[in-house]
Symmetry: C2
Subunit: 194 residues, 2 copies
């Protein structure tokens, strides 16, 4: 099962929180596929919910309820919509070390969505503070975030997501079948058990 | 609990199918509030999912899965997006006879969303055929559909929905709290039990 996400997306964070349980129940392996959500929106002509004021206002309340129901701590990031490319690119640069990568993904999600006064990932001081708090080598993370090959990997993931039908985040694929939204993980689970 | 809907909306039909069970479990009374979804979209600047081709393609598969999971027969209406105002206005004209109104709502939903080759409610022949099949007096229904006071009631419901924060259908209110989408009926149920 593939999980296409961007740290800018609060509902991707809710999904991230729910995935270990789903993996345990289904025996499925979750492949984390960072993408650039802004690029997906632009390529598909999709707009974020906040583009419609009434929808944006509702989403705040809806996401808070969704988070409370599953027991995850979700906080509005004051920098929203954050430029998360340093984090998504660094994540892709950790492909060769799955355990470190998993720890980095969880830290990046928490610092963007799970703590009060979430970080601005485009601000190197915020990135450095996160690395220090979570025990990552900031210089290494920054080098991975700036490496052209990780920039290219992020672009490739984003283009692949669009080519396979994604229009937002979180997007899940079971084989070629797309499921959109943390609130479709029950459908994902059913597909994995079929 | 108030249910704002339009017969043009497939997910409103899924919600309609699920509401009797919810009412039984919670003891809540469901107040059916027909509205003009096109007016809600226009007033809020919202766009239907089909405005984004990738989202429209996904929605077809997603709605089929949602319908299958709850056991309701959902069929794409060849006239989509139908002009449903004859049905919503006639529904409002039946306010004084709740039992007849409930039967009409169910019939209108089924003929728009639940049968193969659903009707075009703007076509009087289709409306007449539905009335004949379901045992409604076509002349009375047509008169209600054309009555200025029902036109006015529909406009008032639509404006009230927008004023209270709705931006699409189905929309539910528990008191002043808005819930959007058939897939939030679990939140509605929780709110009703609180």
């Amino acid at each position: 099962m593939e999980f296409f996400f961007d740290y800018v997306s609060p509902t991707s964070y809710i999904a991230h929180f729910l995935l270990p349980g789903l993996a345990e129940r289904t025996g499925a392996r979750v492949v984390y596929r960072p993408m650039f959500l802004g690029g997906v929106m632009r390529a598909t002509g999709n707009q974020p919910p906040v583009a419609v004021p009434a929808k944006g206002a509702y989403m705040v309340r809806d996401m808070a309820r969704c988070a409370r129901r599953v027991g995850v701590s979700l906080h509005h990031n004051p920098h929203f919509p954050m430029n998360t490319r340093s984090l998504t690119r660094a994540t892709l640069g950790l492909d060769s070390d799955p355990a470190l990568q998993a720890r980095f993904i969880d830290a990046a999600f928490r610092h963007c969505q799970g703590i009060e006064n979430g970080i601005d990932p485009a601000d190197e001081r915020d990135l450095a503070a996160m690395c220090e708090a979570e025990g990552f080598d900031f210089d290494m993370i920054l080098a991975l975030a700036n490496a052209p090959e990780n920039r290219e990997k992020l672009r490739a993931n984003t283009e692949e997501a669009v080519a396979r039908g994604a229009f937002g985040a979180p997007s899940f694929f079971v084989g070629d079948e797309l499921f959109f939204g943390h609130d479709r993980l029950d459908h994902v689970e059913e597909a994995l058990m079929a």
